[in-house]
């Protein structure tokens, strides 16, 4: 089972202090590191950020996701990690991106915030599927529109 394809969706709370500029730089660094590492361990996925929270999807072999997740868990730049979904999947849906990114001034991020408000910021009520679809739809839309994918939005 260790090489089976799995998908992980989780939410966490941002703990990066300081100005937008500072948060921006930290995220740039997170993305740079994760893209490099993910490419090496054949992990694909996407990250969404709305100032308050991170939502991330990771796809890859079970053990690679495990190892990646453990590294993410020890990162002090976030807290209150909630796993929404961890299950085997048939195929990757983010195969284009070692780590696609949807930033805080995008439409998707606004929708993310709306879901958050509608569920009273209760992570337990979040549906993994909803986050997943949101990320997927918006990354593809952005790709079609030719906007700088992979760049900080």
């Amino acid at each position: 089972m260790t090489q089976d394809l799995y998908r992980l969706i989780y939410l966490s709370r941002n703990t990066i202090p300081g100005s937008n500029e500072n948060i921006h730089q930290e995220i740039e660094q997170i993305l740079a590191v994760s893209r490099q590492r993910n490419a090496a361990s054949q992990i694909t996925g996407a990250l969404m950020f709305n100032r308050e929270c991170f939502a991330q999807v990771l796809e890859g072999a079970h053990d690679d996701i495990q190892a990646t997740f453990e590294r993410i868990q020890c990162d002090p730049r976030h807290a209150d990690v909630v796993v929404l979904d961890f299950k085997p999947v048939e195929a990757r849906r983010f195969s284009h991106w070692s780590m696609g990114y949807i930033g805080y001034d995008t439409l998707a991020s606004k929708e993310f915030t709306q879901i958050q408000q509608a569920t009273g910021f209760d992570a337990k009520q979040f549906s993994g599927e909803r986050i997943y679809d949101l990320l997927h739809a918006h990354l593809y839309a952005a790709e079609k529109a030719g906007s700088g994918l992979g760049k900080i939005a």
Binding site: D4, Q25, E26, E28, Q29, F69, P76, V81, V82, F86
Partner: protein, 541 residues
């Protein structure tokens, strides 16, 4: 060490021939310049200019990349000092903010690590190359410790106990449990300082020893970080697993004066943290030792109390409301411990449950109560308390049956009092045992109703013979809230066809109120305090 360089002009470090590694990085962590020693210490290629450490991931030891990235991440500090072990070299790294845009990294290699750690083959391999030691090595580290300078000497033991770890083993399997332990170990190794000693202490316990750090701040900060980190979900065998960690701290010169007591005190503190609030941390204090000693003494006493016949049963009458006629007695255990007097069941029953001694004690209580009751008139019932733990052995039915047979008491005269706590854990099994016992003719009463996790569900899940209203409600009957609750429980009982008995009735006023509201039976000092078996005849005649 003195480094003189004018930042504005000496942007090029490549000519600085020094044993110190020097590098200048910009705000985003891009290397502006580095000297040969820096490249050498981190085994970097010559062309590093304008690259970040993450760009260099492929070319250098990943442990070094991780370390430098993490160190630079603390960008809000004016000066950062870190130590790490990379490729068996101990590197001291200083990061100094020169101005808004530039930071200077200085690296110094010392020949050996500050505390030589034995290399062991543990699966937990980490970016810092820190190793897990075992319990013996941990004790050796403490024994060999020498204070740096007498004034600043400190040693802190952080004992970490994983909560609910047994449940992971039970529900997800031992393989998952082992994986989780491995990940927990890795998380610890990732966040400790390189001169901390991390040990796998026992099954679900880890220990971190902090050497000559600023205490108690360093230990409490680490304890908070650890409990936060281990609370985060784990992914094991295709599933997520959640645990928490309780932490006990013992710090030299903070209630612990001898290094030899550090482990013991940290364990006592951990025990206390687990008892009070899982997922919390607790610093050792003297009272913990005192409590532990008392508990230990009680435990020893409890082990021989049965054999030495130190237990006796007292009986408290239960009466009908309408004419105060005594219709039964509740058996109450008393323990008179030589030299210590009467020990309250509130103290020793939980301990007996913990020790597993409750099975023997419970059996003795049933046998004795049935035997005593067999000598009473046939219309007098006997009520016996049964602990939820007694259901765990799955042999309660046989024990009840044996007590009835040996005493010759009719099963219809025996009533077992259970508490809501029984139905919380493994309700299906508990109900099955209750049904079997009830099928023998024994009745089952719900005790202390309203004090636990009262759920209407529990009341309708089983044909209870009686609901006992807890004495705390009767004692607070002067408050509206208690009166409302009492009325509600009586109404509930009557709706479900279950009798209600009020405990702890002490005054006529309480009696009148209960009578007016339809309560059927009472127990309490108004009637009689608990009496020894010999005085029962006098009470019922």
């Amino acid at each position: 060490m003195t480094i003189v360089c004018d930042i504005n002009t000496a942007m090029d470090f490549s000519a600085i021939d020094s044993s110190y590694g020097l590098a200048l990085v910009d705000q985003a962590g891009k290397i502006l310049s580095a000297n040969p020693a820096f490249l050498n210490l981190f085994a970097l290629p010559p062309d590093v200019q304008n690259k970040t450490f993450s760009d260099l991931t492929g070319t250098m030891n990943p442990a070094a990349t991780d370390f430098l990235q993490q160190t630079l991440a603390g960008r809000h500090e004016k000066a950062i000092k870190q130590t790490t072990i990379i490729d068996h070299k101990t590197l001291s790294v200083h990061v100094i903010e020169l101005d808004q845009a530039q930071r200077l990294i200085m690296v110094e290699s010392s020949p050996s690590s500050p505390l030589p750690l034995p290399e062991i083959n543990h699966p937990a391999h980490t970016p810092h190359n820190a190793a897990m030691v075992n319990r013996t090595m941990l004790s050796e580290c403490i024994a060999n410790w020498k204070p740096d300078e007498p004034g600043t000497a400190s040693l802190a033991m952080i004992m970490i106990g994983l909560d609910r770890f047994k449940r992971i083993n039970e529900t997800l399997g031992h393989d998952a449990g082992d994986q989780l332990l491995k990940f927990a170990a890795q998380r610890l190794l990732r966040i400790v300082r390189s001169d901390d000693v991390v040990a796998h202490f026992s099954d679900d316990r880890f220990a971190v020893l902090q050497i000559n750090q600023n205490q108690p701040v360093a230990a409490t900060t680490m304890a908070e970080r650890i409990s936060e980190l281990l609370k985060r979900p784990f992914l094991v065998n295709g599933q997520q697993a959640n645990i928490s960690a309780s932490v006990g701290l013992a710090i030299l010169h903070h209630n612990t004066e001898s290094t030899g007591d550090l482990i013991k005190h940290a364990e006592l503190a951990l025990h206390d943290a687990k008892q009070n609030a899982r997922g919390s941390y607790r610093l050792y204090e003297q009272s913990l030792q005192k409590n532990a000693s008392e508990r230990h003494e009680l435990e020893i006493g409890l082990r021989r109390a049965l054999f030495l016949r130190e237990f006796t049963l007292f009986y408290q009458p239960q009466a009908r409301m309408q004419d105060k006629k005594i219709i039964g007695f509740e058996a109450l255990i008393r323990w008179e411990k030589p030299g210590a007097g009467i020990i309250s069941p509130l103290r020793f029953i939980p301990l007996a449950e913990d020790m597993g001694k409750i099975h023997e004690i419970g059996q003795w209580v049933l046998q004795t109560a049935c035997r005593d009751a067999a000598a009473w008139p046939e219309d007098i019932m006997i009520a016996v308390n049964v602990s939820p733990v007694q259901f765990e052995s799955n042999s309660l039915k046989q024990i009840v049956q044996a007590a009835l047979t040996a005493s010759g008491l009719a099963p219809q005269r025996l009533e077992l009092e259970i508490t809501e706590g029984l139905l919380i854990k493994n309700i299906t099994n508990a109900l099955e045992q209750l049904r079997e016992i009830q099928a023998m003719g024994v009745s089952i009463a719900m005790d202390d109703f309203g004090t636990g996790y009262s759920s209407l569900n529990y009341l309708s899940s089983f044909p209870f013979s009686k609901i006992k209203i807890d004495q705390s409600f009767v004692h607070r009957m002067h408050t509206d809230k208690s009166r409302t609750l009492i009325k509600a429980v009586i109404a509930l009982g009557s709706a479900l066809g279950i009798k209600t008995l009020a405990e702890g009735v002490e005054t006529e006023e309480q009696f009148d109120y209960l009578a007016r509201n339809g309560c059927e039976e009472i127990q309490g000092y108004l009637l009689s305090k608990p009496v020894p078996a010999e005085q029962i005849r006098a009470l019922i005649s």
